[in-house]
Symmetry: C2
Subunit: 153 residues, 2 copies
């Protein structure tokens, strides 16, 4: 099964995903890509904004992307996905701590066929990532490039 | 040495960083956080927009963040950094391939003291990530929370 750009409608919402945040992974990610004390060191984190070790915002984005891609594969949307064009308004609205369990919601905001390439178009969506208490930890507006449904014949 | 929000000026630019992109790391990152075929599989990538295996955009963001944090530690800006408030207008302007060597440029766009907390403020900057040919591969507008210079006495 495949889902194409033409199969989506503005206002479509979906909830999905489950990602358990482990201390080990938080520290591993931050060590590689965001080695600030408050992501790595208990004592420094206690003095900072987060109060205890919290995931890098980029790690939260990565965990969110993982849930998105798995969802696309489950629904057949992966067949249409050509890649991401950009991301706007990333906001990390709450810290993500080891032990949190994340999940996703997406809402379709805009569907725009490409002017230059008739086989594809742009899908603008809002992604919200929640923790286990239903509190949003990250929101972002994404623009992806998707194939349109191939014409019969 | 520490650099605080008050030590920065709108228009300040800095160039720094060097990050060698390896095939192993591109595949490791994508396997965990962005398991789409065109980041993982040579054959699928050959048919896609990128022509060959390319790094996840989130991986490029992570490599960029790593260079940023190292730069902050080198300059003393890390002492003032309390965390990121958000990211706007992330654009992946060119694919990043294994073998590429990335570097960074930042430009200060706006400095705004916090109204509610006099010890800190917001720093808006444009980050541009370049490949070894001087071509931009990613741009993003970032907003960070930084400490102001402590008052003497």
């Amino acid at each position: 099964m495949a889902i194409y750009l033409d199969d989506l409608t503005v206002g479509d919402k979906a909830q999905f995903g489950r990602y358990e945040v482990t201390r080990e992974e938080v520290i591993e990610f931050a060590s590689k890509y965001d080695p600030q004390d408050f992501h790595l060191d208990d004592e420094a984190a206690a003095k900072g904004l987060f109060g205890k070790i919290a995931a890098s915002g980029w790690h939260t984005a990565g965990m969110t992307m993982r849930m998105q891609v798995e969802h696309w594969k489950e629904t057949g949307l992966d067949k249409a996905s050509l890649g991401g064009a950009g991301m706007d308004e990333i906001r990390w609205t709450r810290p993500v701590y080891p032990g949190d369990v994340l999940s996703c919601e997406t809402e379709v905001l805009e569907i725009k066929p490409s002017r230059s390439k008739p086989d594809r178009g742009f899908l603008k969506s809002r992604w919200t990532t929640f923790n286990q208490n239903g509190e949003p930890v990250m929101t972002v507006i994404t623009t992806g490039i998707l194939l349109r449904r191939p014409k019969a014949g």
